[in-house]
Structure formats: C-alpha cells, structure tokens
C-alpha cells in the first residue's frame, strides 16, 4: 500500500486513501479517444472496480480526461470546465496528441503540448491507448495521489499567470469570466 510518507496525521492517510479509491471523472470527449471510455467502464474492463465512476458535472468531478487532440476552440471550454472543478483535481492526458500534438503536429488549430495550458498529472501514451493502458494510467494516478504527488491544482494556482499567458496566446477572443480564487 502506497501512502504519503510525509502524512503525519492519520486524517491525511484516510483522506488520501479515500481520494485514491474514489475517482469521479468528467469525460470531456474532446477527441477520438473518447471512444475508448465505454469499453473501459463497461463489463469487459470494469473500471468501477477501482472506484472510477463518471460524474455528470465538473462540480462533482475529480478527474478531467482530455481524450485526444484538443482544438483551440475546445481548449476554451476545457479550461472553464477545469476551473469549475473542486480541488483536489487531476488531469489525465490521453494519447500522444496531448503530449506532443501527435498526428496533428502541424495542424493550425490544435494545441501541441497540453501541459502548457493545464497542469497534467498523468499522460497515457498510445494512439489510441487501449482500455488496459487507460486503467494502468488510472492506477498510476492513484499511486501519485497516495504519495501526495498529484498536486496539479496547486501548480496551476501557483503558476496561474504563466498558464494564463499561454492560454491567451492561442485563444484569440478571450472572453472568460474572472474567478475569485
């Protein structure tokens, strides 16, 4: 059993254990990777074994899945969805498109590296990653949570200006509401 070595109090251990075993995902079907989620959730691979469950709205969710390529237009919505989620929150980049642009490397309207815009905790390699790979990605995220290393939300807040700068660079008509962090 992995656990945060620095967690001195038993409360933190319990918290991390619960967070680790209860991952509610808001599956933002940005790209083709979304099609891998149904087999992951249903009978064959049954991700619910690990406490992974879909949630209806970002307010209730813990994990944001970026399933594949991300066009600039979609990025705006993804950022808003991410900012509406409650901390602690985790981002999983799905497939090679989120890592380096993949086959959309020289596309004019997709972003290349996701973690310039959102703090990514775990990448899942592949094009497409198969459900086994998805599940192994989730288990990696669980390990990180238990060790207290999945701190994407904290990084995002600390480097908010840097992220905003990058976001504003690609999103031309920036009309986002101001959040009272």
């Amino acid at each position: 059993m992995y656990n945060d070595k620095e967690a001195s109090k038993i409360v933190d251990i319990i918290k991390n254990f619960a967070r680790k075993h209860s991952l509610w995902i808001v599956a933002y079907g940005t790209g083709c990777g979304a099609i891998e989620l149904p087999p992951t959730m249903t009978s064959r691979y049954d991700a619910e074994r690990f406490g992974i469950r879909g949630s209806a709205t970002p307010r209730q969710a813990d994990v944001l899945l970026i399933t594949g390529y991300l066009s600039v237009k979609t990025l705006k919505r993804v950022i808003r969805t991410y900012e509406q989620m409650q901390e602690p929150k985790y981002v999983i980049g799905f497939g090679s498109c989120t890592i380096n642009g993949g086959m959309y490397w020289d596309s004019y309207n997709t972003i290349k590296a996701l973690d310039r815009y959102l703090p990514v905790d775990v990448y899942i390699n592949g094009c497409m990653p198969r459900p086994e790979a998805v599940i192994s990605g989730f288990i990696k995220l669980q390990e990180l949570i238990a060790q207290g290393k999945a701190d994407g939300a904290k990084r995002y807040q600390e480097n908010l200006e840097w992220y905003r700068e990058n976001q504003r660079k690609v999103i031309k008509n920036w009309r986002m509401p101001e959040y009272n962090w």
Binding site: K76, R77, R80, R175, P177, Y179, N180
Partner: protein, 616 residues
C-alpha cells in the same frame, strides 16, 4: 360610549376625514389612516374584556352589536391585519395618485367588516355587508382602465350574493317577524323543512360568494390580481373571511338544528374539496405571481370550508386555525409580492428572477409564507393541516381526505414556482439595482413571519380563543395542550419535540458545514454554472421559468380542458345575444313607447275580468 361604538364611529368618521385631509393636508393623510387603524386595534382588544353591547332602535327594528367569543376572533383578525396593511400601504402607495379615494375606501372596507362581525341582527349585517362590498369594489377598479371588466365581474357576483342574502333575510322576516340573531336561532326549528332548506341555501350562497367557493369563484383571480397589493393582502386575508364567518354562523347556528344537516355538510365539504383541488391545479399554471396567489387563496378557503362542513370539533378548530393562519400567510405572500412589484414594477414570474440577495427580508417572508401554506413542520401550517387530516380520517371521509391531500401536495408545485421565479434562480443583469423594500413595508411582513413561527411551536396559544368561540357556536370540545395536539383516537403530535429536533439537527449540521473549511468555501455568481463549458454572456438569459410544469400539465391535461370561467363566458355571450333581440322592443323612440302603453292598457281592459275579477 363603549368600545364597539368607538370602533364604528372612529372608522367611519376617520374614513371621511382622510378623504378631506387628503385635499387639505396631504402629509397628514397616511398618519391619520394609521392612527385610525391603531385606535381600532386598541378598542377591539378593549371590547373583548368589556363585553360591550350596543342596541339601536329604529322604528320597530332593533339593531344590535355585541361581542361574543366568535365575533372577537374575527374582529381581532381584521384589526391586526388592517393595521399592518395600512402601515404597509404608506410606502407602497406613496407614488400613486388619488390616495384620498384609496384610504377612504380602505377604511370603509375595514369599518364594514367590523360592522359585520359585531352585528347581531340581519339588517345591520346586510347594511355593513353592502358597505364592505362597495368599498372593495371601488378599490378593485382603483388602478386603471383595465380593471373595469374585472370590477364588473366582481360586482355581478357580489350582487348575486347580496340578492340571495337579501331574499333569505326577507324570508326570515316574513317567517318569524323578527331579524335578531338570537330570536331567529331559537325560532329556526319551527320553520318547515323546505323553508329551512331554502333559507340555508340562500345564506350559504350569499356568504359563499365572498369566500369564493368553486362555482362562485370566478371573480376572485381577477379582483385579487388587479387591486393594489396592500388591499389585496386585506382582501384575501380578511375580507374573504367574512364569507367564512357567515358560513360558520349559518352552519352551526341554523343548519345544525335541522334533520338534513348531514347532507348540507357532505355537499359543502365536497364543494370545498373540489375547490381546493381545482384551484390548486389552476394556480400551478399561472405565470403571474399575484394570479398564482389568488388561485392559491381560493384553494386555501376550500380547506377552511371543508373543515367547517365536516363539523367535528377537531375539524372546526382546524378551520378556524386555518382562517387565522390564512389571513397571516396570504397577507405575507401578497406583501412580499407587493415588495417585488414596488421595486421591479412587475409581478410576472417569467421575467423577474434572482432577487434573494437583493431583497433578503422579502425572501424570508415569502419563505415562511410558503412553508406555512404547504403545511410542512415546524411552522403554523402543519398544525392546521394535521388537525384537518385527522378529523377527516376519523369522521370517515375516506375519499375526501385523498382529494385534500392531493391538493395539498400539488400546492408544493405552485409554491415552489412562486419563490423560485421571484427570488431564486439566475440573478439577471436587468434587476441588478433592485434594493430591499422600505422599512415600513418590511416591518409588517416580519411581524407576521414571527407570528406563524410562534404559532407553529405553540399552537395552543391560538387554540385557546378558538375553543372559546367554538363553545359559542355549539358544544364542541377537543383536547389540546400548549404545544401538543391530540386526535380523537388519542394519538398526538408534540410540536415542542418536533421543533427541538429539527432545530437541533439543523443547527448542529449547519454549524459544522459552515465552519468546516469556512474560508475555502467561496461564493460564485449564478453565471458561473455548469453549462458544458460554454461561457454565458452577461445579457444571456439562463433562467428556466417559462412552462415550468410542462410535464405535469401534459399529465393532467384532460382535467384542465374545461373551466367554469368558460361556461360563464358562454352564458354571458348568449345573454348578450338575447338582449340584442330585446333592443328591437326598446327602440328608444317615444312614439313606440306610447303605443306600447296604449296596447298594454287595452290588454288590461280586455282581460280585466280574467285577471282581477272585475267586470268593467
């Protein structure tokens, strides 16, 4: 002079004076009206301990005013509500014109009501009944030209009620040669059965119009909707209770003496039940807050009529309890709606939304109001509803209790619609600058809110005067303690325990959730909601208000197809056609009329022997 004389004297003189003062010293007008209603309140309370009685003899008639426990109950209700609504009117009406007219009629309506409740004979009752009707009619048509057809409808139905009342009074006089209440009550059992039936039916018809029971309700939605909010509060809260006052008197003082009483009871109870159910269904689909409350008011009076009609001690107690509560909560709701109208200029539920953070006190009033109407513990409505259900079940009205319960559950729908549309939901940019209503409007609302809260915890406080007035109506005894209610099978509800439990759990959990990570809980605006990532713009309307209960409407569509209003409109249209034909007869030409006269006289002469038995 004793208190009753003071009350009638002050109110009517005060009414005239406000009209004069309005033209001479407009600044004093409101103060005078408030003073008059405050003095009324003082003397009404004085009259309870004084046991006043006034006799005025004109020709052969004795006009009698007296205090009885039953009268006092209604008089206090009128006085308190009158005082609060006049207080409320001061700011609400400040921007309107013709205020002399408004206050005069307001006080006349109040005076009429005092006269009705204190009178112990049918002449003065009818006299004051007419004053009240006229004053309220003039206030219904106060606002604008649109009010005229609505005023006409109110007037026609009031006239129907008044005529049936008058016929009943004439019948009573011809049968007993007397119009004093005490004499009539003791003579009533001597009348023949058919006479008893006719008198009771006519009296119930007359009083029923004012309390808007179902086939006679069509005037109410319009009249409540169009009259100015302070008066609507009084109209629905106190004026409609005059019908209840009369029905209670007729049922237990007259009808109870005869053998067919149980049939009257059953018919009236079912009329009340159907009134409650249908009015609730209509209320659900209204788009205007005041119209919604108007239908709700009709429905609530249906419950009161059921309670009176069932006639067991518990049911009468619940009816009178509901009478007082209805006066309070309907005044609260109309006042809150009025406050919204005062600040936004509309009561359309499709356009106003999200006022909660701008008008917190109005919201609290509306919240307490809807909790009381819905009958959810711990506020006062629960005790009344509880007594009504228990009495219905124990008097074996199996299906009526289902109807009442269905109506009561369906009431949640329109109550939620009301508070959601006005106060909750999206905070639109259009209503950004709305402020809370002025202090003098908020105070009456909060006083009434405190009242329903106290009554909810200690229903016994109100049940004391109610049980006294029930002893006046007949030999009705029921069991209660200050905060414990009992049914006829001996089962109880202990409001103290209930309130303690609810309060304790609410406080503990509320505190935990507030203090646990208090600083990390942040407020976000209602534009920052889950919209699938889409960013709503400032002027984008996200409120879900139009056709709020479409699924429910589809489910009960067959019931709503026909409405009584349509039937009446049909009758009215047919009558109009019939009168069109009459116009051929009444040509307006003098020569034609002269010819008619000659024709009529010749007819008379021709058939003189046949008709009069005279041989010319």
């Amino acid at each position: 002079m004793n208190s009753i004389e003071y009350i009638l004297f002050i109110t009517f003189i005060g009414a005239g004076l406000t009209f004069i003062v309005h033209h001479a010293l407009p600044k004093l007008r409101d103060t005078l009206a408030i003073l008059v209603s405050a003095l009324d309140l003082y003397f009404v309370i004085q009259a309870i301990s004084e046991k006043s009685k006034v006799v005025l003899s004109i020709a052969d008639f004795h006009l009698i005013w007296k205090t009885t426990p039953y009268n006092n109950l209604f008089a206090v209700l009128i006085a308190v509500l009158g005082f609060l609504t006049i207080l409320y009117a001061h700011d609400f009406m400040s921007s309107k014109d013709r205020l002399g007219y408004f206050y005069m009629n307001f006080l006349f309506a109040l005076g009429g009501m005092y006269g009705i409740v204190y009178s112990q004979d049918f002449i003065s009752l009818f006299f004051f009944w007419e004053i009240m009707t006229w004053a309220s009619f003039l206030l219904v048509i106060y606002c604008c030209k649109d009010a005229q057809p609505i005023g006409l409808k109110y007037f026609v139905f009031s006239a129907i009620g008044a005529y049936s009342l008058l016929i009943a009074i004439v019948m009573l006089y011809s049968l007993s040669g007397n119009l004093e209440l005490t004499n009539l009550i003791s003579n009533f059992s001597n009348f023949s059965v058919s006479n008893q039936l006719i008198v009771v039916t006519l009296l119930l018809l007359g009083f029923g119009v004012k309390s808007a029971i179902m086939p006679l309700h069509v005037w109410a939605p319009g009249a409540y909707f169009i009259s100015p909010s302070p008066f609507t509060a009084l109209f629905s809260g106190a004026l409609s209770k005059m019908g209840i006052f009369g029905i209670g008197l007729v049922l237990f003082k007259f009808a109870a003496q005869s053998g067919y009483f149980s049939y009257v009871q059953i018919i009236l109870a079912w009329i009340g039940g159907i009134t409650a159910l249908l009015a609730t269904f209509y209320a659900i689909f209204q788009t205007d807050a005041k119209k919604l409350l108007a239908y709700s008011s009709i429905g609530q009076l249906g419950y009161i009529i059921i309670g009176l009609a069932i006639g067991t001690p518990l049911s009468i107690a619940s009816a009178l309890f509901l009478t007082i509560l209805h006066a309070a909560f309907k005044a609260m709701l109309f006042m809150a709606t009025g406050a919204v109208y005062f600040r936004t200029g509309t009561t359309d539920m499709n356009s106003v939304s999200g006022l909660i953070r701008k008008m917190p006190f109005s919201f609290i009033t509306a919240l307490f109001g809807i909790i009381t109407v819905s009958g959810v513990p711990p506020l006062g409505g629960f005790a009344a509803k509880w007594m009504l259900y228990e009495s219905l079940i124990q008097s074996r009205h199996y299906f009526l209790v289902i109807v009442v319960f269905a109506a009561s559950t369906a009431a949640f729908l329109y109550l939620y619609r009301f508070i959601f549309s006005l106060f909750l939901g999206q905070e639109e940019k259009e209503w950004e600058d709305v402020k809370e209503a002025p202090l003098l409007m908020v105070i009456p609302m909060l006083i009434l809110s405190a009242f329903v809260l106290v009554v909810g915890v200690f229903p016994g406080l109100i049940l004391d005067p109610i049980s006294q007035s029930m002893n006046y109506l007949g030999n009705f005894n029921f069991n209660y303690e200050t905060s414990v209610l009992f049914n006829e099978w001996g089962n109880q509800v202990d409001m103290q325990t209930v309130v303690n439990t609810i309060g304790a759990v609410f406080l503990i959990v509320g505190l935990i959730i507030t203090f646990k990570g208090f600083k990390k809980t942040r407020y976000v605006s209602t534009k920052d909601i889950h919209t699938s990532g889409e960013i709503p713009q400032e002027n984008e309307n996200l409120t879900y208000a139009v056709d709020f209960y479409k699924p429910f409407e589809r489910a009960i569509a067959p019931i709503l197809k026909s409405s009584i209003d349509k039937i009446y409109t049909g009758i009215a249209n047919n009558l109009e056609q019939a009168f069109d034909y009459l116009r051929y007869v009444y040509t307006g030409n003098g020569q034609t009329y002269a010819m008619y006269v000659v024709f009529f006289l010749s007819l008379l002469i021709l058939f003189a022997e046949l008709i009069f038995g005279i041989n010319l």
